[in-house]
Amino acid sequence: MAAWSLIALAIACTISGVALLYRSWTRRPDGARAVAAVGWLLLGATAVPWFALDGWEFGAIYAITVPSLAAGLILWLVADRRRRRAEPLPRWSVAAPGWPAVRKVMGTFLLVVPFGAVASTVVTGAAGLLLPISELNQLVFIVCVMPIVWGLFAYRMLAAPSRRRSVLSLAALSGLGLVTILAL
């Protein structure tokens, strides 16, 4: 199949898929779930012409990024542009933060950045080194997954009902990871 026809097919599937999701989520037609499912199916099906066009490596990137643009276009077209008055907010003098506020910010920074970095490195390191794959693949796994784990730990620490308990559990997990790494 010619390149242009594969592109046309992929774009048609993308636009149809996003349009069906739009119809399902905003118009709530009968069988909205089925309509949404077909929409997702079409978006998934775009991978086929993209893969055929440019191989699976490039094709996968097209398949996950082009729907974003199609949705952006639809959003732009259907946006509610009725201008409303916004209320002016009162102006205050900037208040110098007190020591408790500074301590809270510094504490959060230390938890999220240095502690999060160390904990995610140790935990991912231990998990990676335990994998039954070659040493090189273990290291690549650690380097690629560690940022994800760091981000998840940061979220976990900040969103936990008890920050103290969350930090302690991550510290314990890190300790376990460190012991594992040293034992290997």
Binding site: R85, L89, N137, M146
Partner: protein, 490 residues
């Protein structure tokens, strides 16, 4: 459709999202904006020197003469010497050492020096925030990891993820508008943003993380690097680089490989060998690297195209992050989605500011940063084109001036307008100076795309100035609905 998220989880996720956002806000904005522009760095390089000789075809003999000419000049030798062959992205040949480079003329003589200082400054700002490289790249990569946290907390903070997916209220700058823009761009850009976060984090964290693991397990960090990039080969033949032999052998050995650059390692020493970087069609790897001695004897290849999966992943990070594959279409996709991430960074802070239900110096500070960064970036570009001068000090000084002015004026709406007009004035000056300095080359194939992009920026500024909010329609103010709701539910 509604995700089953408890109100408590949503509330805590929102708080975590706010904390993370404030932690990275301004730096994330600068990194995203410069990253978006960096997608087009080959175009910027050509635009900086639109008169440089361009051709997609080249004479191998001429390239070899240029490379050996540089290698024969002892005063110019550094550990590595490079030859860049013409490609569709940059149809220019150049040779360089670790400090400077020269274009290669058709006859193989060295031409004008390569001067891409603004483009390099732009990339440095994205990679290091102009800080010392070892610290800056780790800091920027940490932003990538925290972006993962922002993405996850953002998803959990949004219980009406699907129901609101097409709900966009553009109502003149109120908080609801900011919330809608932030949420819609975040949700629809989610796969791309996660990709950018993980690949961005990789570049700066690979060395410290591997260092920690190597130390903790008693492994040799150099051996780890060698397992990826190959050990230094034992060399027998040293002398002039026989480029024709090397490229001839490569063509026979790997007909699908498309060589685009060459590195001479240990230039001028007895350790000298040659590494050819070749791209593969439909492959995400940056290159497969073939190594030869100077006489053209094949040594080995790195195995990025067909070696262990880990090797292939490592060498795919660059294209995945910068979008330099698939031509213009991919660049446009990366540019638009990168711009979306930039807008998300800004609207996130805008939402936090509006939530406080008052204004103070933080609003002024933020307005100065948001609208000052593009002004500072293009003042530095103008300085480079007009005077050949570029410095991080200039960029940060202009930005500091914008911020100080904003703090002094205490009027974010007026500051936004003033800095938008300044941005437009700088772009107009840049276009005029570029045209004046380079004449017809400024509208030739090497510079036209960027200059059209600059004109598009003027249109963007005009759009942003259109329907300027008045004092009663403050950007980031409270929407009327919210005020009524707050009054009804005090």
């Amino acid at each position: 459709m509604k995700l089953s998220l408890t109100p408590d989880l949503v509330k805590r996720s929102l708080a975590a999202h706010g904390w993370l956002g404030l932690l990275v806000g301004a730096l994330m904005y600068i990194v995203c904006l410069t990253g978006t522009l960096s997608v087009f760095y080959p175009e910027f390089e050509r635009w900086e020197q639109p008169g440089a000789p361009e051709s997609l075809t080249y004479d191998v003999g001429a390239m070899g003469r240029a490379l050996n000419d540089l290698l024969s000049r002892e005063s110019l030798l550094t550990e590595h010497v490079y030859l860049n062959l013409p490609t569709e992205e940059i149809p220019r040949a150049s040779v360089s050492n670790e400090e400077r480079g020269w274009f290669v003329e058709a006859d193989g003589s060295l031409g004008d020096p390569v001067v891409h200082d603004w483009t390099h400054f732009l990339i440095d700002t994205h990679l290091y925030l102009t800080l010392p490289e070892t610290f800056g790249i780790v800091l920027v990569s940490a932003l990538g990891a925290l972006l993962v946290g922002l993405i996850v907390s953002g998803l959990f903070a949004h219980p009406r993820l699907f129901k609101d997916a097409f709900h966009l209220r553009l109502r003149g700058g109120g908080r609801l508008e900011q919330v809608d823009i932030h949420n819609r761009l975040s949700v629809w850009g989610f796969p791309f943003h996660l990709l950018i976060a993980v690949t961005g984090a990789y570049f700066g964290l690979v060395i410290p993380v591997l260092g920690v693991i190597a130390d903790a397990t008693g492994r040799d960090a150099e051996a780890i690097a060698a397992s990826v990039f190959g050990e230094e080969p034992a060399i027998e033949a040293v002398g002039e680089v026989q480029l024709a032999s090397i490229l001839g052998d490569l063509s026979a050995r790997a007909p699908e490989a498309n060589p685009f650059a060459l590195t001479v390692h240990g230039a001028g020493t007895e350790r000298q060998f040659v590494e050819i970087h070749a791209s593969y069609p439909q492959r995400m790897i940056y290159s497969e690297n073939y190594r030869y001695d100077s006489a053209g004897t094949y040594l080995d290849k790195a195995g990025f195209s067909d070696g262990e999966v880990g090797k292939q992943i490592v060498y795919s990070m660059y294209y995945l992050h910068f979008g330099h594959f698939g031509g213009w279409a991919v660049k446009l996709i990366y540019g638009l989605l990168g711009l979306a991430l930039t807008v998300i960074s800004v609207t996130g802070v805008n939402i936090w500011l509006a939530k406080r239900r008052h204004r103070d110096a933080l609003n002024d500070l933020w307005a100065g940063i948001v609208w000052g960064v593009p002004v500072a970036l293009f003042v530095s570009a103008t300085s480079q084109v007009a005077l050949g001068f570029i410095s991080p000090v200039l960029f940060w000084s202009v930005l500091a001036l914008c911020v100080v002015w904003s703090l002094k004026r205490q009027d974010p709406v007026g500051v936004r307008r003033g800095l938008l007009l300044s941005w437009a004035a700088v772009i107009a000056a840049l276009l005029t100076i570029h045209l004046f300095r380079f004449g017809t080359d400024a509208v030739g194939p090497a510079a036209l795309a960027v200059n059209l992009g600059l004109i598009l920026q003027l249109a963007l500024v005009a759009y942003l100035l259109r329907g300027r909010p008045t004092e009663s329609e403050l950007p980031f103010g409270a929407d009327k609905d919210e005020v009524l709701e707050a009054q009804a539910n005090p």
